[in-house]
Every structure is written in structure tokens, then in C-alpha cells.
Symmetry: C2
Subunit: 357 residues, 2 copies
């Protein structure tokens, strides 16, 4: 493993005695319903580039004033974001190629923006939340903004007031809003608030809500039909349909799994949230209390040394905050059971006892 | 359906009485072995971005002097091409952003090249084959070339002499070769010749050999480890792992399916090739005899009118040659059974009887 760690060094890595606070994926299995179709499955041909019709019909019932035409099913939320940024970049041209990012951010965002030929501009969060005064100045020079509430890595949920302010100013300025709401079903404090507007692109997936990360089924939804059509045009050439079987499994999740599954999951996440939050506070660390998603982002002295030594000596995977634009912090995903969280906390304590904090 | 047809109008389209010479996908099902793992499948977590280790180990046995590290499993050959072009574009910078394309070409190539921020340069095929005199002049101004032998849409296989000339000049010039060999197991005239070299990126998939189009499992292989690593870096952010279940199905195909499956498929394709080739020749059309893949590309008067009327009046899907850089031709995929090919030919005859040729 090189000194310059990257997410690819950790994603999918597991092994004896390793406790991973790394990858952001549920440890509990998907609902059994998604596997029920497998024994009799026999399709194999290309599907529609835009996504299976039955899945888009179900999604259209979940979003207000939408139709199946305004969705594109993608290889996870990642591809939805990538395709949207590529479309916006092509439309914006070289003149106005900036994308606003609240910081700390999900580590892929700046990379995706650059891969699409655009440039990230940052607005620093205050206490893990958007500083609208700074936001409203910086948004003027941008053609798009990525909002991620609940947030990976902060665990924070933006206030509805802020989200409405963002809706208003972006509509006035004609700026695209990429609203990455993959944690919308994992909020401890209130119902999700769906950001709306003529240039809003809502991005979501089946990965977090239904623990289906490995199957890579995400989607985007927008009232901007021209943008949706441009996304389909790119996807036709760059990946074609999303895996047809993954889509059928997602359809089963969306139609057969009772709401109680999601409610029960949320209770489990909340107990883990309490455990890790209080555990790290008791170790003397400075961190925000998560309101959604399953991450904490404590301040740690010499975070890169911490990440490296925790992995090599204590077999604990954590992610350096610098990947997320938070170089004085470390990200812990708490997507593992209470016993493992407790054991992980004991190992963190060992490190802190030795190195201080 | 608009006057400006695009592939997205047809892919995945089917219906009563429609005969589709459109989409390039096998009509016969995958080997039964690929479905056998489904009833007991239970994984769900993120996989390695580079691709499942077991699948890459099997692939490494199929390619000379390769290791599992030199492969990336992708969402079909499409994503492999897209990621490779994005890497080459970033490395080449703005100075040398041209990619050479033999013409006629697979319709996605020019789009992919442009989406990656590069510019296609064309070398006209002579009688469906590369004109090396023209090739060797034009390659000088390019940072990459896409070779597709056997070719979609021409059905032609390049001579080994030409392929060796291409190996030599591209190695001398340091030009990347993207060798799209997805039809390597569908050659009627000889064994496939694997293009080799330090800057060759071989692209392949399970879609054609094993009829697994809808599952979207492709891969790339290169001896240029730096390029492979850059591909992984982009994929980490733009789509993450390829669907884990699709990869396991591909692993079953690669390990459990006997060679006789592929040999038998080839016999079926060859009988169909003979049927459609002779049928169209007998209708007085001018076309190349396919040596591989499953396409014919006859010359047709007013090709766009032909495609539109064949679809609307005769319920036959064909693709206009202009998508492939062959505006005086029409592409027929013969991935359908003999009876349907015969019926399709009867309908083409009706059109030609009415409109002449």
C-alpha cells in the first residue's frame, strides 16, 4: 500500500480481524425479496438505455409531477452524477465551467467535476452546514452546484430554510442543482426534504436504502427533459443499459419490500450512531453529531498517521479527512454491528492513549 | 419517432410482428451454466473497482504474459472504451487530441471520442479493409487509433499482415491502440489474431461470445500498467465496481462452459451469414461477404427512406449506414433465426420491387 492512499486501496478489502470503518456501505443484507426472482430469471438481451420501463414507472410514483420519461437508471448514483456533469460541461462550454461544492464533500465530487472538464469552487461549511452568505456569492460564478443532504462525510442534514434559499437563488440564476439524496431514507431528525426546481437533478440509488451497493443501481430524475435526453444520449455510447438483472432486483425492492424494513433499518443505524458518537466524545474527540447517513468526521491530530497506523498496527480501516476536503479530520463509517463498533473504539482508545489527542 | 433517428430509438425495442435486423445482440440465450449460480446467490457489498479477483484470474490465463492486475472489468466494452479514451485524453492534453478511426466505424466511436474531449480523424476503408498507405500517414497526427476486427458494421476481418503493420508503426510512434475484439470468437475464416504491443489496450466482453449483452460485463487488458491504474482511478469515481452478480455469471461462463458451445454458435452464425449474404446478393444488392461478427452493410438507394419505410410499413428494423459513416449503405444485423431472416428478406424484396434499387 502506497503512502498516497486512495479509496481504491480499501474498497472491497476485507480480511481476518480487520474492522472497517472505511467503505460507506450497509453491512446488513438487502431485504430477502430482492433475491426471490433469481431462481427463475432468464432474460439476457440489451435493455432500454434509459432503464427498464417497470422500474421507471414505479419511481415516477415516488416523485411529484414526474413521468417515467424523466428518469434515467444508471450504474449507481456515481454514473448518474458523472453523466449529468458531462452534459452540463458540454452545455456550459469553456466560459462557465465552475461547479460549487460545499466542503467537506464526498471524495468523488471534485474528481468527477474535473473528469468532466469542469473546475470545483468550494464553499466552507460552518459547523457542518452550508453558510448561505458565502454560498450566494460563490454560486454566481458557477453553472452548477452539488448538494448532498444528508451528507457523506459530515452526517449533517441541511435545514429546510437553507434548502429553500438554495432553490430560490439557483432558479433565479439558472444554475443546475445536482441533489445527491442517496441517504434520504437514513435521516434521524426529520423527513427528507426533496429539493425542487426546473434545473434540479435529483440523484438517488438503491445502494443505501436497500443495501444493494454491489449491484450498482442508481438513477437520476429531472424536470429538465432536455438534460435527461442528453444524459441518455451519452449513456447510449458510454455504457448502454444498466445491468438488467440488477434493475429487476431494484424493482422488487421498490414494490415488494414493506416500509417497515426501512424503519427497522433506521432504528439500527440510530443505535449505532449513538454508540459511536458517544464513544468518540468520551475519548475526548471533537465531532458533529450525525443527523443522517452513517458517518462521523472527528478532528484528529496528524490524521494521515492515524489512518496509516490504525490500519497497519490495529487493523482498523478509516479514511483520511483530506479525501473529503477536511485535512484535520478522519472519516469513520459506522456501517458495522455494535460489537465491532465497540471493538473498534477500544482500538482507537489504544492509539490515543499512546499518541495523545 | 423523430426524423433524426438515433440508436436509443431502437435498442430494446421489440413487438408483435417486428423483424429486427437492428440491435447487434445474439438472439440465442446464454449457456445455461451462467444461470446456475442464481438460486443460491447472496452477496451484496461493493466489489473491487478493478473487478472480481476470480474473474480477472481466469482472464489472465487467456491472454499471454498477463496478470490479473492488468485487467479492469467494466460495464460492457462500452465503458472500457470510454474510460480508456478519457485517460488518453487527459494524458495527451490539448496538443495531440486526435484519434484515428477506420470508416465505416461502430456508431459509438466518434461520439465516445468527442465526449472524451478528443477529435476523430478518419481513414476510409477500401473494400471494407484498412488502407495502410492512408493509415500510416494519418496515424502520425493521432495519439490513438481504434481497431475493430472483426468489424461492426462491415463484418470484415483485417489481414494479419495489416495488423502486424499496425503493431509496428504504432509502437514506433508511441500511439495507443484500442483494439475492440468483442467479436473475436465469431470469425468464419481463421482464428483471431490478438494485436499486441506496449501501448495496446485490448477490449473485450461477454456480450457476444456468451450472449450476455444485458448483463453488461466487459473488460480491458493492457501491458501499460500506468494506463490500467488511471482507468481504475476514473472508474472509482464514475461508476465504482461493475455489477457483482454479472461478474459472477461471467466467471461461470469463462470456467464452466465448454468450447463446443462457442463452436456450435459459430456454425449457427455461419449458416445465417450464408443465408443473408446470398439472399441480398440475389436481390441485386452490392455488399461485402462477412468474415466475422454478424452484420452486413449493403449499398441501398436512399438509405434513410429505406430504413424509415421498412420500419413503418414493413415492420423491419435496420440501421441507417450514416450512423456508421457509410451514408450510402444500411446495416443489417443477422442475429435472428433463419425463418425470420427469410421473412425479413421477403419484406426487403417487396420494398425493392416497389422502389427499385
Amino acid at each position: 500500500m502506497s503512502e498516497n492512499l486512495s479509496p481504491a486501496d480499501f474498497i472491497g478489502v476485507c480480511g481476518d480481524g480487520i474492522i472497517s470503518f472505511g467503505s460507506g456501505q450497509p453491512d446488513l443484507p438487502p431485504p430477502k425479496e430482492v433475491y426471490k426472482i433469481l431462481p427463475n430469471y432468464s432474460d439476457f438481451k440489451y435493455g432500454l438505455i434509459q432503464g427498464n420501463a417497470n422500474l421507471r414507472e414505479v419511481l415516477a410514483k415516488q416523485y411529484p409531477s414526474s413521468t417515467p420519461d424523466s428518469f434515467v437508471v444508471t450504474n449507481g448514483a456515481s454514473e448518474a452524477l458523472d453523466l449529468t456533469l458531462r452534459v452540463i460541461s458540454a452545455k456550459a462550454g469553456k466560459g462557465k465551467n465552475k461547479v460549487l461544492l460545499p466542503k467537506p464533500y464526498y471524495y468523488s465530487y471534485p474528481h468527477m467535476i474535473k473528469f468532466a472538464g469542469m473546475e470545483p469552487v468550494f464553499t466552507e461549511l460552518i459547523d457542518g452546514r452550508i453558510d448561505f452568505d458565502d454560498f450566494k456569492e460563490k454560486i454566481k460564478e458557477c453553472s452548477a452546484v452539488i448538494i448532498n443532504s444528508p451528507s457523506n462525510p459530515t452526517g449533517r442534514v441541511e435545514s429546510i430554510k437553507t434548502l429553500k434559499q438554495i432553490e430560490k437563488i439557483t432558479e433565479e440564476l439558472g444554475v443546475y442543482v445536482l441533489s445527491d439524496e442517496v441517504y434520504k431514507d437514513l435521516i434521524y431528525t426529520r423527513e427528507n426534504y426533496l429539493i425542487k426546481g426546473p434545473r434540479v437533478v435529483t440523484i438517488n440509488s438503491f445502494s443505501k436504502t436497500y443495501a444493494m451497493c454491489g449491484f450498482r443501481v442508481g438513477y437520476l430524475w429531472s424536470r429538465d427533459q432536455e438534460l435527461v435526453d442528453e444524459v441518455i444520449k451519452i449513456k447510449t455510447h458510454t455504457s448502454m443499459n444498466t445491468n438488467i438483472l440488477g434493475q429487476e432486483m431494484a424493482y422488487e425492492a421498490a414494490t415488494k419490500v414493506p416500509r417497515s424494513f426501512i424503519d427497522n433499518q433506521l432504528k439500527i443505524w440510530e443505535a449505532r450512531r449513538d454508540m459511536i458518537y458517544e464513544g468518540l466524545v468520551n475519548l475526548g474527540l471533537d465531532l458533529w453529531k450525525p443527523e443522517g447517513a452513517f458517518y462521523v468526521l472527528p478532528k484528529i491530530k496528524n490524521p494521515k498517521d492515524f489512518v496509516m497506523e490504525m490500519f497497519k498496527k490495529h487493523k482498523v480501516i478509516t479514511y483520511p479527512g483530506e479525501w473529503f476536503g477536511a485535512p484535520d479530520r478522519v472519516r469513520f463509517s459506522y456501517a458495522l454491528d455494535i460489537e465491532n463498533i465497540e471493538e473498534g473504539l477500544r482500538r482507537v482508545k489504544k492509539y490515543l492513549d499512546e499518541h495523545g489527542n
